[in-house]
């Protein structure tokens, strides 16, 4: 677990690099009581009507919020709204104490460096090597070259991909690309990581590897996460297990994830017709008698 050490010092993010641009956004720490992410009465529509229609929920610090819904229910849209990649037709998105609707694109570009985003297919730059992909954000921030290499190696070591530094994304399997994508998302030591269906299209073993990585990141760094998925087994895996730093193993959670001693609660949000249909703990979802929700549990 040598690779984890640097992530225990996330506050040093800008201080560690002498030439890194320090944005005001980095300095504003969200108090533990305040939600990290809050979406209020969000409406957004396209040609065929509203995809999100009055959606509201919030994510507490260190919480893992799992978004579940059918295809086209707006899971990816919510993540993109949370990152300020798109703006809602109405409603407000508050992330890390900032109202994203009031920020210009230039401000949003700088702000997004506080957020890690893992895209569904990885979205690695196919003309860059693995190392260049992971280093991309650091180079954009003009971090010293001497500092970039160890940080890239450390990030890749965390996802157990250190031996692929010089490979191109085309030479990697789907699961490896997702792992590199996670490494790229966490190299800037973000406070929030958004995962868009990180296990979609992967075999069960590779999916488990990805979920274990997300779990490690959550339990060792206390990173707030929002994860969109339609695979309930992954969601319950995240809720039911935790990473034990002392033994370096994934172990079952006694409280089934609803109230972890570390405060890293895992909650589910089920979307239906553009609204939050269910919000609650894994236990509440597992015990539900609702016909619609039970369809996800089968």
């Amino acid at each position: 677990m040598a690779g984890i050490s640097i992530y225990n010092h996330r506050d040093e993010c800008s201080a560690g690099s002498t030439t890194a641009r320090t944005h005001d956004f980095r300095m504003s720490a969200t108090p533990d009581s305040e939600p990290v992410l809050s979406l209020e009465d969000i409406r957004i529509g396209f040609d065929k009507g509203n995809v999100l229609d009055g959606l509201s929920f919030s994510v507490a610090p260190r919480e893992t919020k799992i978004l579940i819904g059918e295809s086209g229910s707006g899971k990816t849209l919510i993540l993109k709204l949370a990152a300020g990649l798109i703006q809602p037709d109405s409603g407000s998105v508050q992330m890390l104490d900032h109202d994203l609707g009031r920020m210009s694109e230039k401000e949003l570009l700088a702000f997004r460096r506080n957020i890690g985003f893992v895209f569904q297919e990885g979205a690695l730059f196919d003309s860059l090597t693995v190392a260049e992909n992971v280093a991309y954000c650091l180079r954009e921030e003009h971090v010293d070259e001497e500092e970039i290499e160890p940080r890239v190696r450390e990030s890749l070591r965390f996802v157990e991909m250190e031996d692929t530094l010089e490979k191109l994304p085309a030479e990697l399997s789907g699961g490896m690309r997702r792992r590199v994508s996670i490494a790229r998302a966490l190299v800037t030591r973000p406070r929030v990581v958004l995962y868009d269906s990180p296990t979609a299209g992967l075999d069960p073993v590779t999916s488990q590897t990805i979920i274990t990585l997300i779990l490690r990141l959550r339990d060792t760094q206390g990173v707030t996460s929002v994860l969109a998925t339609h695979r309930l087994q992954d969601a319950f895996g995240l809720a039911s297990y935790e990473f034990d730093g002392r033994s370096g193993r994934v172990v079952p959670v006694a409280h089934n994830g609803a109230s972890r001693p570390s405060g890293a609660a895992t909650t589910f949000v089920v979307l239906r017709e553009g609204k939050v249909y269910f919000e609650g703990s894994p236990r509440e979802l597992a015990d539900t008698r609702d016909e619609y929700l039970r369809r996800f549990l089968l």
Binding site: K80, A83, L85, E105, K106, L109, A110, F111, R112, R113, I115, F117, F119, Q120, E121, A123, L124, F125, D126, Y136, C137, E140, E141, R184
Partner: protein
Amino acid sequence: MATTDPKFLEPNTISVTGAVAEGAKRWVLHVQEYSVLSARSVTNLFSPPYYVSDVLDQMDIIGVGSLPIVLLTGFFIGAVMVLQTAAQFERFGQTALTADVVSLALVRELGPSITGLLVAGRNASGMASELGSMIVTEQVDAMRAMGTDPVRKLVTPRVVATVLMLPLLTAMADFLGLIGGYLVSAFTLRLNAVTFWTRAIDILVFSDLMQGLTKPIVFGFIIATVGCYQGLKVKGGTQGVGRATTQAVVTASVVILVSNFFLTKLMLYLAGHVF
């Protein structure tokens, strides 16, 4: 008993005027989005960050990469012009005038236009497909998520590189065209080198060079902005990338040919009043 749903019996509500208005609105929207993208690609030049290595990469791809086809085409355009005009001038015993015609036509018109169309075919399509693929695979979103402005990173370097490279490619095409013209006139008309090159150079005045090297700057801007615009508005997966690629070449070529007319008119006016 089977019944017919009343809604299927209603008259078709799509009117011709409605369809035309809808089409016009879409067209205006395209023009607006293209104009905004083009303006941003230029205004980005006045504030950091600058992606110099991306500009150099694109200069290599656009400039060096297009050189072989531009040289080859330029050579044969010059050669075929001599073949076409020689027969006419031989009737008057003025075969030396072929050098004048080849030189003027190449430098003023054919060099910029043919080079522009070739680079549009090669690079506007390349830009549209590259950027379109990046859109489809969410690489552009990933770029924005990591705090990079895609217009600054992807569009501006391509615009700068094309605008810088196209005049140089045009000059090379003009030169190879003259060499092609000279070789054909030497073999078919027995025109000596001194006569050909003296006439070809003497016939040109400053305004001809201005015209011949200003047009590629505009054409380069059109090629890059149209190619990037078509790429960045891709929708519908790989099929959309294919459509954007075709659309980029067609649009860039048509805009080059149309703007060439107005540029020529402007240049001829300036040649008479300014230069």
